[in-house]
Symmetry: C2
DNA sequence: GTGCTCATGTAACGGGTTACATGATTTA
DNA sequence: TAAATCATGTAACCCGTTACATGAGCAC
């Protein structure tokens, strides 16, 4: 139950068309809440019918650009939702599951996947660090960007965690393979 | 597409009934792949129809305990899946989203939620550390438990990350409140 | 035989994913 | 005018969640 609120947040930051929203969900917002264009169009339709956003532009129809803006009710709904207590979701990670499967199957050949994931996380971390360097230079006062920077640092630390853990995992599997070789 | 494979892994570790599986998904497996009993029963039915697991026990019917075991095809399917390349899913975290909403709404009152989440993560970390102390004492040789321990350390480090980040976030919001007070 | 627990299910709904379809606008 | 691209949309499927239903066995 978060996608509509992600869209409201994005539209408050800047009124947009569906496709522009989709692009922003591929970048900034998507760093902590991903969505495809199908989800976004479906949800924009619901939000409009619910009176939380307003569409402007040439009348309905395919291929006609429409720009959406948040209405007062939408802002209120977002504020209501953001203040609601919500527990963190339990972790659900296929890679950890595959390791557990490997433990019971005696499967080899997961090192390649671990290395590939490490490379992906390394690249993501580099991207975040580049954004930090560009948008939050060390000298500038924090000010209103405080929360944005905080969220970005969350992403940076999360990628750092994965990187460190995958290093550890790769070390383990190499040791494991060596141990099996000795037996 | 991971729940059936989580179930196959669990059944390979130990053949079980649906309810026993549910309980294990509340404990060990659930630490990285959660599932409710409805999901598990639905999936057990599919796995049986697909010929990947076999049910034994008194004939069909409600309230009749059935024990499931993995068939050769099931083991093969698990091995096939575990060897498949799979990209890490993009992060999707409502708490980060709420912070972003707070940034645009100028919302206060998120400190309580941050503190509550910190407490939840602190408790989860303590639970993981207790499990590590009990199941992986420092002296014992790693051996076959290597991968299990690795997965557990992943959980420990992930909770440590959240804890550190929430500490940082709480420091920020306090500073922010103080700064607003001074204005 | 009432209530409690174990155990297995059904139904309904919404979200996420993938594949595909269609209209408008630019450009070669 | 053919194509590429921008833009909006439909349909189908599975997964996850919630609420509820049903039956068996046991304690009192």
């Amino acid at each position: 139950m978060s996608l509509p609120h992600a869209i409201l947040t994005a539209l408050l930051e800047k009124p947009s068309s569906g496709l522009e929203l989709t692009r922003r969900f591929d970048r900034s917002i998507g760093f902590f809440w991903s969505a495809t264009h199908q989800q976004i169009y479906r949800e924009l339709g619901r939000l409009e019918r619910a009176g939380l956003v307003r569409a402007s532009g040439p009348g309905a129809g395919r291929g006609q650009r429409k720009e959406y803006a948040v209405l007062p009710d939408g802002r209120a709904e977002l504020a209501r939702w953001a203040a609601l207590p919500q527990d963190p979701k339990p972790v659900r990670d296929p890679l950890l599951l595959r390791l557990r499967a490997a433990a019971v199957l005696g499967l080899d050949g997961l090192e390649g996947e671990l290395a590939r994931h490490r490379e992906l996380h390394r690249a993501q971390l580099a991207e975040y660090l580049e954004i930090e360097r560009r948008d939050f230079p060390p000298g500038a006062a924090a000010g209103e960007n405080r929360l944005q920077h905080l969220v970005l640092r969350g992403g940076i630390q999360l990628e750092s965690f994965w990187l460190a853990w995958l290093d550890e995992a790769l070390g383990e599997t190499v040791e494991g393979a060596a141990a099996e070789g000795r037996e």
